[in-house]
Amino acid sequence: MAKQTFTAGQVLTAAQVNGLQTNDFNLTVSTKTAAYTFVVGDRGTRVVLNDTTARTFTIDDAIFSAGDTINVHNINTGVLTIAAGAGVTLNGADVLTVAQYQGGTIFFTSASSAIFFPTAKTVADSGLTLISSTTIGTTVSSVTVSSAFSSTYDNYAIHISGGVASTANQLIMQLGGTSSGYTRVAQAMTQGSATITGAADTEWRVGGGTTDSLNGWVQLFGPNLAKRTVMQTIWTEPSSTGIGIISWGVLSDSTQYTAFTLTTNTGTLTGGTIRVYGYANS
């Protein structure tokens, strides 16, 4: 139950008192399935995210007062980010993200400042935070992850796993809408052969798959910084005669990217997961 305001001389009803007592001993819970901006009625209650897509709960300025608290937790795979709206200062332990089955308390120190206290173990303890987890659909030729990079992290790891390809293929990564400026060099070896083959091209081939499964392990350095982005990747064609490739490349522009797209070089993808992790800056 939200905080009530009583006036002098007012006769309280049993329902009002019981409602407040109930919230003390059994927090009022409101569950969200989309991005959300906190409202004054959330004070002293618990706000829950239940969505498979990464979502943001935003704190706007001049809504709350010093001493107010809001409890939050996340019960689904979409990572919850607690964000400060314009004019709000939000501090937190390492990061302001809440993974599945984690939570925390937002404590307001003024109308425009708050501190987020995680109450469960955060992945940030290990220096690596799951930012998003995208399940690949059926027979798709490309997958875009739109909120992958931000100013919170400089460097990222992207894992592609599970699922299948309709035919042996490779996955080509592009950042944002940029289709040129990519360079890459690679070394490849075929299972059962010690011969190393070198290649140089203008595509970021960062993963691939067969009708068995998909895989790719990509490290991106500075995609959201106003500098060139560096890519390093390792992936293996899941076949007894398949190739394994290690490669590294550069995108020579200073665009600050938030999204990436994986496109097949042939055929389609079905199932599997693309997970984006951020490396804590400190």
Partner: protein
Amino acid sequence: MTYKVQIDDTVRDATPAEAAAIDATHAASEAQAQAAADKAAAAASGRTKLAALGLTNDEINALLGA
């Protein structure tokens, strides 16, 4: 050709522009793969010709820096 694209959790048919971009990606990838294959074939052919001139494998490797 009809393609499906996925934006986060939403799968839909590609727009004409998106389909053209996928076609371009496929064509460029195929061209790069062909260029790599042609280069490998040229290298193999060169080795064969050097061997025909009487060079040993060690001499060819030393010459090519392999």
